[in-house]
Amino acid sequence: MSFAAPSMFAWALLGLPVVLFYILKIRLRRVPVSTVMFWQRVFEEKRPRSIWQRLRHLWSLLLQLIFLALIVAALCEPFFDWEVLEARRIVLVVDNSASMAATDLDEGTRLDRARELALEQVAGLRHHDDMAIVVAGTQAQVASGLTGHKKTLREAVEAIEQTDGPTQVADAVALARRLLQGEKEYEIVVVTDGAFATAGALTAEDDVRIARVGTDADNVGITQLQVRRSAVDPVGFEVLAEVRNFSDDEKEFRFELDLDGGVVDVIPLKLAAGGTWRNVFNKSSREGGLLEAIIDTEDALKTDNRASALLPKTPMQRVLLVTEGNPFLQLVFEASPLVDLDVVDKMPTDGAQGRLLVLHKNIPETLPKGRILIVDPVTSCNLFNVKDPIEDPLITEQDDDSPLMQHVQLTNVHIPKARLIEPKVKPEVLAASLDESPVFMRIPRTDGDVLVLSVELEEGDLTLRTAFPIMVSNVLAWQTGEAAKLHEAAVTGSVTDVPLGTDAKVDDVVAVVTSPDGKTRKKLARVGRVPVGPLHCVGTWTVSPQDEPTQLTRLAVNLSNPDESDLRAREDCVDEGLAATAGLGGQPSWWYLVLTAILLTATEWCLYQRRVVA
């Protein structure tokens, strides 16, 4: 045995005054009494008979000296050599993924039970052991670095929150190994329900010990809910829903589709054990809203019984077409039920008045403010010069990343004639010919971008191809801006970019991201988009510029993760229990010495002082 603070032995000198006071103490207080004949009778009848009673004063001194010795020994912090040699480093990985919210246990969720196990492990920590806490839901994170301070560890465990994200145990274990780099004696304890694909492989790892929580509970969950615009109906949507039965029994329930609280569709379902149901709904809504899929099953996990998607509002668009006459151009706008088209042959003197201005052939020398689509310009203007015609331009390049070119394929389109456009500012080329002459471009302008399509519509088959109406549709969506854009529902654990609700692609705008659980975080927008995630909970997230809190962009987030919905532990996931805890509470030697001293004090009080109050 060694002592960490041997200098503390100096306190043993306190024994001298104790002995001194003892000697002084045996000079008892003298009390005169008128007679001792009563007292004599009292003590004759109760004469001390045992050794204890005869030596009680000496015992008192001994108890006091032992008490002092214990306290001095505790101050010297004694420790055994094996305590240092066998000091361990433990990383406790606590799974707080979506499946840990399952309520299949008698009391609380799986995460509650995991917290209990984690606290048990913390309590069993030995004196020189260090422990770190890593959480493994949505994103592997260190909740507490390596420390032997149990209070810190307990607080870290108690602060672990439930997430709706996927299990990231593999990442967490990798993180744990990085924390333990260079350590010889270490162990990684993973407290999990084993409901993830690599659970079995993890069990086989030598340095990993899995402590399992939860049972093989049945569950039915919505594993997919996605919405896209209908290809045939401008106000229509296609809704893809998928429901899976993660149990060994047949399940019967109802699938309900609601839009802003109103029931859109209800389907009774009977799913065989392990079965999957998938369906595509064609629905239309001009007003849009929150589309929710709900299944009414009483199972262990509630998170996947509901999924949502956001349908944007589809507004009417006013278009002013200035042309001397082109039926294709006019018809392609008239075909859309969302377009209120005005066709004139000359540019009105009062401008477009908020309408999308489409100029065909003749254009004014100075273009008016606002967004403009110019088709086959024949004259120059303040933004560009019209040069020589291009014969048979073969489209070889197109910017597929641009929303204006979404679903548009121009490479196979026969275009016999186009015009060479020479912009005065650098344009964004959306489609270009083999000789890099731009055929379709966006010319940026502070008072409204201008799109220029230099193809002669009367020639070639562009107007006969589906690319033409799609291109016009993209232009109309571009005009509408982000408000009418359909954002796909995201899944928990993912990171996504959310437009800031303004068309301006500005940088360094501070945005406020609010999650469904009410937490807010500030993020910096880049090119008008805000990176959000990893998304830790399901529901509707909102993003708004800090200066314009009403300018909300919403994002639907669903679990949509079969691994998390399947609450059954993987067959090869073996419960190995917690790491060995220290015997007798794992307290240091000085702790036991102080405890003994306290017990001794209590004994002394009972034997010597109790009479005062008895």
Partner: protein, 292 residues
């Protein structure tokens, strides 16, 4: 005189007047002493105890009821009052001092007796008679009596009431009332001493003086008890149990004294030093234990 100042003497005068008015016809000099067999007028009976003269047994009563009772007669003669004050060191205990209290009570009794033309003698005792004032008569003798009491000092070792009583009876005095003012803390027991007086036909009245601290001592823990009489030291550890035992013994002591006095027909006044001496004396007179 420190103990007996002018207020004290005034209070004695007051007590004397009250005694005359309230107990007219029953005061000492106007009454006869109760002398067993010395007179012809039957007074009362008392229980027979070993040593009593068989001649005074009421045989008629024995024949009827089978009880041995002694007949008591009244004798017509001057009353002699012997006031015995305990001067042992144990009397120095308490607040107020038991000795001072006893002297005040003795002075008051003596004054009342002198005022009624009785003869009064005063004795101080501890392990023997340590001081005495011969029989005296007349109210004008009160000052010398008070001086005697003032001069008395606690002395001697343990109280030895039997030896004191033996000394007293060998002085061949006339029979009368013996008032014993003491705490009665006699290691040999108080009964033997009182029996000696009783056998000699003295009319005994006991005033047992105690301090409240003796009845309910506030002692706990490791102590060294000093017996103020013998100056013996006793190292003890007093617990609550011991204390309760002590109180029980003290209570039993009083019960034993009371029982003895009742059985032997002795007058008894148990006096706590908390009760003023004048109140105590009025109480005694009302009970008629000392005077009739």
């Amino acid at each position: 005189m420190e103990l007996f100042d002018s207020d004290f003497v005034k209070k004695l005068e007051y007590l004397s007047l009250v005694a005359r008015r309230v107990f007219r016809g029953q005061l000492l000099a106007l009454k006869r002493t109760r002398q067993l067999g010395a007179g012809i007028e039957f007074a009362d009976h008392r229980e027979y105890t070993a040593g009593d003269d068989f001649r005074y047994l009421d045989w008629n009563l024995y024949a009827r009821h089978g009880e041995l009772l002694l007949k008591r007669f009244e004798e017509e003669e001057d009353l002699h009052v012997y006031v015995m004050v305990d001067c042992s060191r144990s009397m120095q205990f308490g607040k107020p001092n038991k000795f001072d209290y006893a002297r005040q009570v003795a002075a008051a009794i003596s004054y009342v007796a002198l005022a009624d033309l009785d003869r009064v003698a005063m004795l101080g005792f501890s392990d023997g008679i340590v001081a005495d004032l011969p029989l005296t008569r007349g109210k004008d003798r009160i000052l010398s009596l008070l001086r005697f009491l003032e001069d008395a000092q606690p002395s001697g070792e343990n109280t030895a009431l039997e030896r004191v009583a033996q000394e007293f009876i060998h002085r061949s005095q006339r029979r009368g009332i013996v008032v014993v003012i003491s705490d009665l803390y006699d290691p040999a027991g108080f009964e033997r001493g009182l029996d000696v007086l009783r056998y000699r036909n003295y009319d005994v009245h006991v005033v047992q003086v105690f301090d409240p601290a003796e009845a309910n001592p506030d002692l706990l823990g490791d102590l060294e008890l000093l017996d103020v009489e013998s100056e013996d030291l006793h190292k003890v550890t007093v617990t609550e149990k011991h204390l309760a035992h002590y109180k029980r013994l003290f209570r039993e002591f009083h019960e034993k004294l009371q029982s003895y006095c009742v059985n032997q027909g002795l007058g008894l006044t148990v006096a706590s030093t908390r009760v003023p001496y004048d109140e105590l004396l009025l109480g005694m007179m009302r009970e008629g234990g000392v005077v009739r």
